[in-house]
Amino acid sequence: MIRLIRRADVTAIHSLISIAVAAVLTLVISTIVLFLTAKAPVDALMQLLTYPYQGGTVIVQWSKALNMAAYLGVIGLGLSICYRANVWNIGAEGQFAMGGIGAFGTWLLLGSPTAWWAIPCLIMGGAFAGLLWASIPALLKTQANTNELLTSLMLVYVAAQTLFFVSNGPWQAPVRYSPSQTVFLPESVQLNAIIPGVPTFHMGLPIALGLFIVIALVVLYTPFGYRLKVTETTPRAARFAGYSPRVTVWAVFLLSGAMAGAMGAIYLMGDIGYVTEESNFLRGFGFSAIVVAFLGRLHPVGILLAALLLGYVAGGASWIQANLREDDSIAGFIEVIALMSTLASALFLQYRVQWRGFATQPQENR
């Protein structure tokens, strides 16, 4: 019989081993699946892993991956703060959408300016809208003890409908535009490309990186980060330390909502330029960021690596779809396999396995 024995002390070496195990598992399982499903598996695998160097412009391919990683990383870091406080915010997608709407609304409120100073205002407007959207599940949880898992998820659909409403209703652009969208933000209020000709590598990326670093430092080194560490595994010790659970719920919801909202604003100004319906505006960053948070073991460094990994894989999947006519849903599959492998290997971080042979009878292990 196999027995799991709790480790007395978990060290950095155990951590590294378990991450390596997860990486190997992901690679092996993904390869098997690719071989079962792809038309030209060897080619597909090769190109999936090395797509920036497969004939396209290297910098363009890399910047696609980095662009995606920026959204996943910042939103994932925000979500990790919630999860460490045992608050299950899975509505980042909605907070992201409201961030886009809030930024565009801010632009309209300011009187449709074309000056550069509109950019920080729009980012703050987006962050504030995300924060407001996240405050709804926080309020329901602290006042009515509602399950935030359900409320935050349901609000994603409300936010999606709001996108539909504004882009077909009050903010709908004049007829010369395509239907169901708002007007474009002026060039001067968009986040322009840093390298000419590479639109996905825009000013929003360094802003996202700055935001990520600031929040990561807060999580790692401040009393707020300590609060998360204590609350994560021992709510009882958190109360003993004087932390109010209510304040924790509010703080993590507002912070993560503002982060997702700010990224919604950056997406609006850097990647798309207008608000439109759900199917064209939302790309699932808010949901993939949940995977990123757990893949990174809720630690900022891990989340950064996980975001880069998933960004890279997603870029590779769209490459093999475009060039080899392979199914790009392999990206979603790898995402899930990576998550499962990480969760499974985390078990062995906490426990060591002991093989006791077949001799003992199962009843005695009860």
Binding site: A8, D9, V10, Y221, T222, P223, Y226, K229, V230, T233, T234, R236, A237, R239, F240, A241, G242, S244, Q361, Q363, E364, R366
Partner: protein, 483 residues
Amino acid sequence: MTANDAVSLELNSGQILALLGENGAGKSTLMKILAGLTQPDQGTIEIQGVDVVIRSPNQSRQLGIGMVQQHFALFDGLSVLDNIALGLPKIARSELRERAMQLATTYGFQLDLDDTVFSLSAGEKQRIEIVRTLLSEPKILILDEPTSVLTPQEADQLFDAIRRLADRGHGIIFISHKLDEVARLCDSAVILRRGRVVGTCDPRGGAQSEMAAMMLGSQLPDRTQRGTRTLGAPQLVIHDAQSTQGDAAIKSLTLHAGEILGIAGVAGNGQDALFALLSGESSMTQERALKWLDQPVGGLDPNARRSQLGWAFVPEERLGHGAVPHLSLTENALLTNLADPTFASNRLIHWSHVTQTAESIATQFDVRHAGLHRQARSLSGGNLQKFVVGRELIKNPTLLIINQPTWGVDMGAARHIRDAINTLAEAGGSVIVISQDLDELFELCDTLCVINHGTLSPPRLIDDWTLVELGLAMGGQTTETIS
């Protein structure tokens, strides 16, 4: 440390025997010996006049000993019948169903064999365990704290079933520390204390106070070696304090400077709720009910009590309450100092000061550790307790509230902790000690009160208590007459 020291007991068929004792009294070890999980160093076990040696759980079962554990070992996703079948040698389903049904009707268990386990209540799950145990036809049935998860109604049904089992000739060992249940159900009781049998009695007819006294100590400990302290001015005055959840109440209590007040009581009588009320972890109905130096302080949270009043708290549970298991010792040194600006401001933690403090705690309180960066859970219980107590005492608190200061701690560490508490009181600090160890309370305390069902009796000078009165108060019989 001897968990069981020359324990003898005798069980007749048809008898319901209570095995009473505090946590750590040696009940579990004794039962592990009967279950074949632990081997005794000496002594004999006889079943129906035959000397036996129990080497394994299987053998224990074959000898006719059946044990129902406190925690269920059931598969939630399987049906009742599947769960019963799992613990048994292979027999035909139809036959098993018939036998299980027959047992259930004989003993009055309502059990639908086709229900899925996850939909059942704790009482029903326990019935599955009992039926499963009974199917191996035990002569002796051991029930380990069976009522701890049951509602009072479910407990009543269980007691009926136990009586029927006894009527049919089973010998029953009922492990508990709930005195009223023992008095209702059992026809004899063996009381264990620190691994020894300290008494046997007939629990029927109001022997509760006698049993409580035996559980806690056969005589009042000697106090001659302890000098009398002169107490200072009143510091803490409590009047009609009640927790909002209603699980703890204090009628009236005054604590002086330099006073050590003990709170005695049988386990599970609301000690934790009382601790939470005093530490501010649970809220109280009236802010004025709790006064410190004439100021109402009942509305303050734990950190405000620490930083504004200079109080300090040590909870019973070391890991998970007093310390965070997966954080390092250094990080744990910060846990109760968050409101102190020398440890942390709003933006920054002053790690050098935290580390220094952790080092001083370790040296002054003799904490044996393999590095302050190691996780708290890597320490032994005694060392961690010294760390947690040291973290509070090093602050020289004005009031220390400490729950079970030396529970599960070796003699040396216990000595160290008690000495430190005494030193604090001699320097003028006030202390409230909640403990289930009468020896400890009599060694430390100036005054003593008793907690029963969440309510605290008025305190009295420790020399004014007699053993009989203490027993009565702990058995919860006539709190009014002794107040």
